[in-house]
Point group: C2
Chain length 302, copies 2
């Protein structure tokens, strides 16, 4: 028989990674009410917004107001993305438990996304990580396009190790490795995790899969077999794919939790409360969410 971990931690990125890729802006009050519903599901981690300039992501321009309005549930880490020192200051002036920094494993994607080369990005993030640590915050580092880039194609696992080590050396507490465009296949994930096993600290690694080609749960399964126990997901599959408008994007929290529970793997999350939160944001966005769990629920109601 195959082996997988008994417990898995799911990090909800819907309010940030999900909403920033939705065309419709969610009203502030709905956002807060939705995050409060998420806090009641048993999730231990919610990335609630991003302190980037509203020019880039207008959907999340109310990050500070959201931070000070949500009900804090004990045991839940409330995190926000920060692109630079200015974002970090804004985040710290509110109430965040953890901040996330981000960069890309692909030179071209990094330039298009952050407007800097990878080399130029390191000192910026280093400063943010250092400052955040001084303020007593934990820090998460996102590395995107680790399995492939829309501009460069394949990304070598060795290169991902190089970028990851730089971030770990800065003192980040967790590394989230992202298949930003959903190209990873189970064979590639198996190969990469086999390579990374002796190079990266697996207890500090989260995998961040997108379901663009339907392989996200299969990739999770391979990761579980390599003893990865932390996964990012977005409720209802919220967010879509920024590189193929309308196609599936983020792995759905509800589909992931359902599979794990069916496999007897604990997550601490209540599936019914998760559905309640998904129904809420679906109503606000006024469009059917793409997760299989939501598809099934929506069809029952027809």
């Amino acid at each position: 028989m195959l082996k997988w971990p008994e417990k898995v931690t799911i990090k909800e990125v819907g309010p940030r990674d999900g909403l920033q890729n939705e065309a419709k802006e969610v009203p502030f009050e709905d956002k807060v009410a939705w995050i409060d519903l998420l806090s009641e599901t048993g999730l231990s981690y919610i990335e609630f917004s991003s302190f980037v300039h509203p020019k880039w992501i207008p959907q999340l321009k109310d990050a500070g107001k959201v931070a000070s309005s949500i009900k804090r549930k004990q045991g839940v880490t409330y995190a926000a993305l920060v692109p630079n020192r200015k974002g970090l200051e804004a985040a710290i002036n509110t109430h965040v438990d953890e901040v996330s920094v981000f960069m890309s494993a692909s030179e071209t994607h990094n330039r298009k996304n952050i407007n800097k080369s990878i080399q130029e990005t390191y000192p910026v993030l280093e400063e943010v990580v250092k400052e955040a640590k001084l303020e007593g915050k934990t820090v998460r580092g996102y590395v995107s396009t680790v399995f492939g880039c829309p501009y460069e194609g394949d990304i070598s696992p060795d290169h991902v190790v190089h970028v990851s080590e730089r971030l770990l050396d800065m003192g980040i507490d967790e590394l989230s490795l992202g298949d930003t465009i959903g190209v990873a296949n189970p064979g590639q994930v198996d190969q990469a995790l086999t390579d990374w096993k002796h190079q990266l600290p697996f207890d500090k690694i989260a995998m961040h899969f997108h379901n663009t080609r339907g392989m996200a749960l299969a990739n999770v399964l391979v990761s579980l077999q390599h003893n990865i126990t932390t996964f990012d997901a977005s409720l209802g599959g919220l967010g879509g794919c920024p590189y193929a408008k309308g196609a599936s994007g983020n792995l759905s929290t509800d589909d992931l939790v359902h599979m794990l529970h069916q496999m007897g793997i604990e997550t601490g999350i209540d599936e019914e409360k998760l559905k309640e939160a998904a129904r809420y944001i679906q109503r606000v966005l006024d469009k059917p969410l793409p997760s299989h769990q939501m598809q099934m629920m929506n069809k029952e109601r027809v």
Copy 2:
């Protein structure tokens, strides 16, 4: 590193299992043209129709006409479903290479679907298998609801073995084990295949997964690790789920082939020609097909 087979056989069930679950009837000429496109993809097996009474499945009432009108491609097995002796005779009067018989592992599902108890079904199928063999046809046996039934819930792996052995004893050449309602999870598939390994001949087994809850490719992955090398699939995810109208049904041939090829597993199928065939039937049905490959293609065209 994980291990999987180097080659996989995919059996296309779209023209039968797909179309029988579509509300819209596909015109005869389009059906033939579509099957002819499928024959050019490199698929080695196409279940092209079903010889059941048109009262039950009007969408496939032209089975005989289709059988005599499609272009036979060398190396492709053209198969049709037959429910009983009458169906078999109709099939043999046309041109079929293989016939499929079917029953359910669930007593209630079998009664609702075939209007007979499991015990009453055996002699009917036995007669069909015997007659088909006398006519020189190979025979495939479908067992449905092997991982769960919409009426009875869980189905025990031992019970599946019992039903399967009866069919194998009749002389069927291949057994297709179906997760008819798409409830199977990777843990359950792992457990069942571990149990079945010493009880059933794996070289005669095909797995037939539905993607209702998004787990089909993950279940394929587990099956590959148990050295299962034959899978049923339906192009574009055609067919939907008969128990949750509009939700995902059959595993998509195009998503499956894409994953396998990306993993370096051979199928003999040309992905571009598969897409061409999918676009054709999508145009005829006049609605977007649900596979991820088709979703991505449709979005690019918007």
